[in-house]
Symmetry: C2
Amino acid sequence: MLGLPPALADLIHQLTRLPGIGPKAAERLALALIKWEPAEVASLGQALNDSVARVTDCPTCGCLSQDGELCDVCASEGRDASVLCVVEDALDAVAVERGGTYNGRYHILGGALSPMKGVLPEDLRVAELLERIQADGVTEVIVATNASPDGEATALYLKQELVELTAPGGAALRLTRLARGLPSGAQLDYADPATLQSALEHRTEL
Amino acid sequence: MLGLPPALADLIHQLTRLPGIGPKAAERLALALIKWEPAEVASLGQALNDSVARVTDCPTCGCLSQDGELCDVCASEGRDASVLCVVEDALDAVAVERGGTYNGRYHILGGALSPMKGVLPEDLRVAELLERIQADGVTEVIVATNASPDGEATALYLKQELVELTAPGGAALRLTRLARGLPSGAQLDYADPATLQSALEHRTEL
């Protein structure tokens, strides 16, 4: 039987280890890659090595950063240090930034609580969060975990941990979460019942 | 605004040049890659370089091969050299091989005729095909181009070019094409009209 050349079969096999890449997709990627110019392949290899070597977590918030430095948000003078947006992953912070209106800082939990996957409170960056709240004089924590069961559980756990804390001056720390409702552009007849339920429950004045 | 670290942004940008990989998929791949062990990343880089350097086309049929050698099929003594299966791409030959019953050889056209994409007869390996038919004493050519408009046009063009040729001994060269009908496992109510039409037209005795 005609097989693929061993070098190519090895490349395809390695590509199937990437998330969302099955055997057919890996075949297509590998065949595209071997048609690239040698300089382009070298440049991809370089970018890969650079990323692995240089991308680090921001030592303060845990966002993606480079060479162990503070991330852009933590390094910026213009951002409001008294508001923290708590997200599961670094990409979630990038998504919130894309909105373009948030001016506080971030805190990356590094996941969500999940007894099924064995993620327990001590696996998340909660101790660091408590420390930052005290040290930075935080007045509001926006819990922006995913709207999934794990994300919900994590939000409830954080509420439990943070509800007793006070902001500077002795007022209670403000704890908020992202609004639930129809996503923008949504059509009612395609919305799932849970979303419609939330949208009804949290309806606002017209 | 919090951006991605430049090294990572560069990697993501390069990955989006792969077929079927959009910005979101590239982000997911890049983040997965930077979490790999350094040894795994090195091994992927090695496989990539190996493939680019070593994968070549079989000098006879155009299938994927390595280091300029004949492919497994052309190198095998056991395959019937008098039957040629003509396919568009090397992966099509791999697909036919997976069936496990074909015992002839292959000829890769290197694409299909497409005036829209600017692929003309002289861009396909048709001259090589004519040469092989004479040199190898071919008695049957199975045209296995895709069941797409371009594939159909290519099949008709090949018929025109090959219909006058003779097999060794003076008999006419046998020209065949893949059967059209229901794919195996198909449900009639999900089949498209053109497929059902073909299946009816080419019905066989029960």
